[in-house]
């Protein structure tokens, strides 16, 4: 069965490593914070100016001056720190953040990503995404495998304006975990529970590489 958004987040959370500073994008990536594996310490950065972001506040404790990059009210953990936007992107551009998780409209088999603009229709802007994908050593895309019309979002080439080129290393969708190979191509490494390689193949427009037996994701 294909994963829901929380399932995708849960699988991505397994990629967190001890002592990682992590930037989570808006949408599915935000959910990753709910599934931090036990026994490791990670800290979340939000590019509007906080390191050590905590959970949402209890009712009555929200503070208009304390939000995340999704403009949601948040709290600050012990040891948190606030800073300005230039310092925030110093952390990102200077590679001090170890992992970036973000959503996408399209990813191509060479690691290009598009997630900020549909010409003539939707122009919200790139926000911090272009800085994040241009700089992070370790980028995971969290998204549904297909769009609302059922079309693949894993393409040979992106059709939408790019956010970054050759930067995505790993993708976790509702159907699969895939790595992008340096020479190009989506290498299938895990299937969502009960989802077949054929289903994944059918939902993938770009070059899918399937070697040997592909295990199911493990959620224990």
């Amino acid at each position: 069965m294909a994963l829901d958004k929380d399932g995708i987040a849960k699988r991505i959370a397994q990629e967190l490593q001890d002592r990682f500073y992590v930037n989570l994008g808006i949408g599915i990536p935000t959910l990753v914070a709910n599934y931090i594996p036990e026994g490791i310490s990670v800290e979340f950065q939000s590019e509007n100016g906080i390191l050590g972001m905590g959970p949402f506040p209890f009712s009555g404790e929200e503070d208009a001056d304390l939000i995340n990059a999704g403009k949601q009210t948040i709290t600050a953990l012990n040891g948190a720190v606030y800073f300005d936007s230039a310092t925030s992107f110093a952390m990102i551009r200077g590679k001090h953040v170890q992992l970036t998780v973000l959503g996408a409209m399209e990813v191509s088999e060479n690691g290009d990503i598009a997630n900020w603009k549909i010409p003539g229709k939707m122009v919200k802007g790139m926000g911090g995404a272009m800085d994040l994908v241009a700089s992070a050593e370790n980028i995971i895309v969290a998204m549904m495998h297909t769009n609302k019309k059922g079309e693949s979002k894993l393409l040979k080439r992106c059709s939408l304006p790019l956010t970054g080129v050759a930067c995505v290393k790993k993708i976790v969708t509702n159907l699969a975990v895939l790595e992008i190979l340096p020479e190009g191509g989506f290498k299938l490494t895990e299937r969502a529970p009960g989802v077949s390689v054929e289903e994944i193949q059918l939902a993938t427009e770009g070059k899918l590489l399937v070697e040997g037996e592909i295990p199911e994701m493990n959620f224990n």
Binding site: N48, P57, I67, S85, F89, G125, G127, A134, S135, V165
Partner: protein, 232 residues
């Protein structure tokens, strides 16, 4: 000590004219100069170029200036959550220059810092790089970005003293410090205006040298854009 206090928002905004370029601090509705935005609406200045990370929402923040068609051009990184903005942009009434958030912050800082241009990897290979010089450093392509400055920068601080020294609160800091540096004239509206000597010189975020005018804001709605809560 050089006294920067002006008596009210009207006096603070004297000299802002049609066609000028303004920088306005804030991220979403967090840390925006509410008093000054209201005064800009009242003043009715138009054809403004506004440099601000976001464009407010339909009925608050810079959305108020958009409604009155006072803005000719926006320079921002993210402009979702604003239908009137999207309408004006898609119809071509509003010029929009979208730039990566980190580049926006750094370009404002550069403008205030006397750095006319710098190389960044952000936006390489995208339409942001169109017409910009590309150069490879350490095997990685970068693009050359220019500094941004403004006729007036308008920022909002939590506390400020008579000399213009500012302290921001939590994530309301965001773009305010860089914009304060980049304005030819920088105006600060503050929640609490205090005498000199009241702020610890070690805890100031924006030194007063960057601020030309400071005033006590009269009201701060501090609207929350996404009130998200957890259950007890």
């Amino acid at each position: 000590m050089i006294d920067k206090v002006v008596t009210n928002v009207h006096e603070a905004l004297l000299g802002i004219e049609d066609g000028m370029t303004l920088m306005l601090g804030g991220f979403g509705l967090c840390g925006i100069p509410e008093n000054s935005i209201a005064e800009l609406v009242k003043k009715g200045v138009s054809n403004l170029t506004c440099i601000s990370n976001n464009a407010g929402v339909d009925d608050f923040g810079l959305g108020l200036l958009l409604q009155q068609k006072q803005i000719k051009k926006m320079i921002s990184s993210y402009v979702g959550e604003n239908n009137e903005f999207e309408r004006q942009m898609l119809s071509g009434e509003l010029e929009v220059d979208l730039i990566p958030q980190g580049s926006l912050a750094e370009r404002c800082r550069a403008g205030g810092t006397g750095i006319p241009a710098f190389f960044t990897p952000s936006g390489y290979g995208t339409e942001v790089a169109d017409g910009k010089e590309v150069r490879v450093f350490n095997g990685k392509p970068h693009i050359l970005e220019n500094a941004l400055t403004a006729d007036f920068a308008i920022v909002k601080a939590w506390k400020g003293d008579v000399a213009g020294n500012l302290i921001f609160k939590a994530t309301a800091r965001n773009f305010n410090p860089m914009m304060a540096m980049a304005g030819k004239i920088t105006i600060a509206e503050v929640e609490e205006l205090v005498p000199v000597g009241k702020l610890d010189p070690n805890e100031i975020h924006t030194p007063g040298i960057f601020v030309q005018r400071i005033f006590q804001g009269l009201y701060f709605e501090k609207r929350i854009e996404q009130r998200t809560l957890r259950n007890k």
